[in-house]
């Protein structure tokens, strides 16, 4: 069991009625997929907002960062750094800086 931290962008915080960061329990490997599964299970109002309901593809204007690295294009099943799994560093969901 891991207790990890996820930082959310402004609009997802408002949808989920939470602050800038949430903590989640993860059983098994800590990966992008397991984090998003846990996030959507805890906050079901976020389903469809980060990845498509059907294809499970990441929405194009969202990126995933951790430990000052862009992990967006890594496999969703790749293990994330230990410091993310330990909760020392947050997993960041970032909205692209674009638009008006």
């Amino acid at each position: 069991m891991f207790m990890i931290r996820v930082a959310l962008p402004f609009h997802l915080r408002n949808l989920a009625h939470v602050g800038s960061e949430v903590t989640l329990e993860i059983e098994g490997a800590v990966t992008q997929r397991s984090i998003l599964d846990a996030l959507e299970a805890r906050y079901p109002m976020l389903q469809g907002a980060i990845r498509d309901h059907v294809t499970q593809q990441r929405r194009p204007f969202l990126r995933f960062f951790a430990c000052e690295e862009d992990l967006t294009h890594q496999s969703p099943d790749a293990a994330l750094p230990d410091v993310v799994a330990s909760g020392k560093e947050p997993f960041l969901i970032i909205g692209a800086i674009a638009g008006g």
């Binding site: 402004f10 609009h11 408002n14 009625h17 299970a41 079901p44 204007f61 638009g99």
Partner: protein
């Protein structure tokens, strides 16, 4: 005393404007869902406190919001009002899950439409343009979406199912997106015939179902569109909006890309009624709630210049069901005005005299409490207004 509640969707949030029956002093609440594009908000005729709102974003996709208290509080259907769901304790919500029906059981699953360059393109869900709540059941609501299709929920917006007979009609490969996308933007439920539904799509045209949405026929006879290879084709017309007075559900008025049209036979045949309008390009059209031959449009200069003609914001009214139009200007800017009024941004109340409301891309919401004779802004400086609906409350 009666009250009115105006529901304004904008590029950056939703606003609720309320007044008593005099419609002189207004309370403004919002922005609700600040920063999100709010394409449409509409109340249930069967329960005026039940509102449905389409919340969209290029970043985060489509959200459905519902209020059960007239817009004071909102929640996504399927999640508890105001509270995040307990872990594992809630059914998986699907209020923003719009999946096109491709099952063999529907007969002709349709997977492509015409793209801007004339090639075929797969259907892709983008957003909800319009909600049309049932006239009798607050939990039943229709959604018109982009790419064009009609969905229905019968559980208050928690789950959505396509009515596939529309896309299965067989003309889909000739449907194509307009500049704003290929959207189903108009849904009209016949108050005297529960089996009859009208819809309109940019750019496909108008369709009618006489069996509750199971099957559809194009109703575009009489439309003429120079921008398609066959100007009188069965489908491909860029219909911008259709309006109906509930007392005469067989009489329809249409603002097409160019041309204002009317039909006296439930859409089977259309006649041009642009008459003396200074330009017959436009987006909105509506009908006076008490005078079914009194209609309103806002002429826009052209399809290349989406702002009002001659820098003057003028609503045009016909008391003869078209052809003879008068400019309504009192209280509206008559110089240096270059706003647009988008297709779902005009509505009428049912008070006497009829109130008319419209919102502009400049962020003004104007109201007339005297059937259009005079106008005043309710608010001047909202984000660009995408839609306006009004509820008349007891």
């Amino acid at each position: 005393m009666s009250k009115v509640r105006v529901l304004a969707g904008t590029r950056k949030g939703a606003f609720i404007l309320e007044s008593d029956g005099k419609r002189e002093k207004w309370d403004v609440s919002g922005p609700h869902f600040a920063g999100w594009e709010m394409y449409h908000i509409k109340g249930s005729p069967a329960d005026p406190n039940r509102l449905y709102a389409s919340q969209t974003s290029g970043w985060f996709g489509q959200m459905i919001q519902r209020s059960d208290d007239g817009g004071k509080t909102w929640y996504q259907p399927g999640t508890p009002p105001g509270e995040p769901a307990a872990p594992g304790g809630m059914p998986k919500p699907a209020s923003n899950k719009f999946v096109y029906d491709a099952s063999p059981a529907t007969g002709k699953p349709l997977t492509t439409h015409q793209w801007y360059d004339g090639t075929q393109h797969p259907w892709e869900f983008k957003r909800v343009w319009h909600f049309e709540p049932s006239l009798s059941d607050p939990d039943t609501v229709y959604a018109g979406v982009e790419d064009a299709a009609l969905f229905r929920s019968s559980d208050g917006g928690q789950n959505w199912h396509e009515l596939p007979g529309l896309r299965g009609h067989g003309t889909g490969p000739n449907w194509q997106p307009g500049a704003g996308g290929m959207c189903l933007h108009t849904i009209i439920l016949d108050p005297k015939n529960p089996q009859r539904i009208y819809i309109a799509i940019s750019a496909a045209g108008a369709f009618r179902s006489d069996d509750g949405g199971a099957s559809w026929k194009p109703i575009n006879k009489g439309l003429y569109s120079q921008y398609i290879p066959n100007p009188t084709a069965e489908v491909g017309h860029c219909v911008h909006h259709i309006a109906m007075n509930p007392s005469r559900p067989g009489v329809l008025f249409m603002q097409k890309h160019w041309h204002v049209m009317r039909s006296d036979d439930a859409g089977d045949n259309w006649t041009k009624v642009s008459g003396n309008l200074p330009t017959d390009f436009g987006f909105v059209i509506d009908v006076n709630s008490h005078e079914p031959e009194t209609i309103y449009v806002v002429p826009i200069k052209s399809d290349s210049e989406h702002f009002v003609h001659e820098g003057k914001l003028r609503v045009y009214r016909s008391r003869t069901g078209g052809n003879e139009w008068e400019a309504l200007t009192k209280g509206l800017p008559q110089k240096d005005c270059y706003v647009n009024v988008l297709r779902d941004a005009m509505a009428v109340d049912s008070l006497d005299k009829c109130g008319i409301y419209f919102g502009t891309t400049g962020g003004q919401v104007y109201a007339s409490a005297d059937a259009g004779d005079s106008w005043a802004p309710i608010v001047r400086d909202l984000p660009a207004v995408l839609s306006v609906e009004v509820q008349t409350l007891a």
